[in-house]
Amino acid sequence: MAAAEITDSLEADAFKKLYPDQFYARFIADGIRPDGRPLGRARTASIGLGAVSTADSSALVKFGNSTALAGIKLEIMVPKDDTPNQGQLSIAVEMAPMCSPDMRPGRPSDAAQVLVEQLNNALLASAKAVNLDDLCIDPGKAAWVAYLDIYVLDSDGSLADVTLLAAVAALATLRLPHVAVTDGGNVVPSSEAAEAAAPDEMAVEPTKLQLRSVPLALTCGLYKDQLIVGLTAEEEALVATSVTTIVDDQGRLIGQLKAGGRAEMDIARLQDCIEAAKLRYAELAGILQQAITQYDGSG
């Protein structure tokens, strides 16, 4: 057969480029993937906190090559009339032009919009990870608006997973300065804070933002009836369908999204995805906690 005849004269790289599906199928048949991982293992995560000092908090997260940089900058706003006790969390995702060879700068990306939706759902609507009341400074007068900007610097699959972890890490290390509103309506460092500090003591530490729940995501795919966990970009192009599952620290299902695709999944399969997400959660939560402890400890 034509394909078999040429494989002998082609290098592995060339074969992979011309016949990507056959190339991948050979590995899956043996129970592993081209990068050596078993089908059920996601990539190792690395978290770097405080990567950007111009932001009030920041986190650089990598799953293999997939890289997302999240940063939060705080500004003051006047609360809206119908929610005088609430601040705002404004989420934006930008796919940096360097993240993938197919990106052209200036063209807004659909992928970024989808990620913003997923993050809004995970952090605000469904999980209610952030309670907007916590961002209030003076009801009706002043509140914090937290601008959470996430940059995808390298797009190699599982973007929902990487961006959510980066967002959570940045939120978990965010500190709200102690401020108060003067009669003139200006926001200044809190005089209470100044009074409370004894002469030989350090000034009062800004308060940490309390996360009400910690949601994390896992993207899985279906390839020739096998469940593949933690997809790379190449795998995302080859799987028949993919599912993103978000669970939180209490094992609750925050959300699951299966956006069409060439294959359908039954309930049992979707449950498998939830189980896989819970396993991955334990893994990631450990890494995140370790990073935060180390970061807090270093002052």
Partner: protein
């Protein structure tokens, strides 16, 4: 506030002719053809190169394009400062694109295009110098043929003292400033940008200082490129000798 103390020290303790600490990391973005992370003091930029590769559909004015993007999280102030920096970035992107067209051989540019993307991650002055340096390092890292390694440097005249590599605080004063992209082999200036009015003597002084700064930066950049390649070679040497044994 005095920017240069009587002892000749700047706000961050540097001497007038002292560059900030430079850190270069090459090839960290796997999906790109070449990449370079450059940190100069507290300014951090990341550059990536795709190419040479086939021309995309749609008209392009030049085969090489360089775009600098300023992240919202990178600026000290609020989102308005980001808008301003963004506009400056667009202007500088164009100048940098023109400079690069001269540095890459024409036959490479003829039927393939090269995209250079620079993302500013943290901004503390000397922004466009850092972007230019990162862009050139990324091109070299990608194996794009270049006529020379150039470096860029930013200088300013504060309190009658010429300072090299200004921090954000130093550049916010309405003092004469000059930034150049310098080609060491031909000893020529590829790009020059000045801010605020100044006398010709002041300009000469700033350009001379900037040239010195660029020469120092080029030395560091060349060293980073060479040591990265030497490291790659030493990790691949066992394969080479194994191949020789087979023959």
């Amino acid at each position: 506030m005095e920017f240069v103390s009587p002892e000749g020290l700047r706000l961050d303790g540097r001497r007038p002719k002292e560059l900030r600490k430079l850190r270069i990391k090459l090839g960290s973005l796997d999906g790109t053809d070449g990449s370079a992370f450059v940190q100069l003091g507290n300014t951090k930029v990341l550059a990536a190169v795709f190419g040479p590769r086939g021309a995309p559909t749609g008209a392009r004015s030049s085969a090489i394009s360089c775009v600098i993007a300023v992240s919202a999280i990178s600026v000290q102030g609020d989102r308005r400062s980001k808008e301003r920096l963004g506009r400056q970035a667009t202007e500088f992107s164009r100048a940098l694109t023109n400079a690069m067209e001269q540095l890459v051989p024409a036959d490479i540019l003829k039927n393939a295009c090269i995209d250079v993307h620079v993302q500013v991650l943290q901004a503390d002055g000397g922004l466009f110098a850092a972007c230019a340096n990162a862009a050139l390092l990324a091109l070299a890292n990608a194996g794009v043929p270049l006529r020379d390694i150039c470096a860029a440097c930013h200088t300013g005249l504060l309190e009658s003292t010429a300072l090299v590599d200004l921090s954000a605080q130093e550049s916010m004063q309405q003092a004469p400033q000059a930034a150049i992209l310098y080609e060491c082999r031909t000893q020529s200036i590829a790009i020059m940008q000045t801010d605020n009015k100044m006398s010709t003597t002041a300009l000469e002084e700033l350009l001379e200082l900037a040239t010195e700064g660029c020469i120092a930066l080029v030395t560091a950049m060349r060293q980073a490129l060479i040591s990265s390649t030497v490291q790659q070679l030493s990790t691949s040497a066992p394969h080479a000798s194994a191949a020789q044994r087979r023959d």
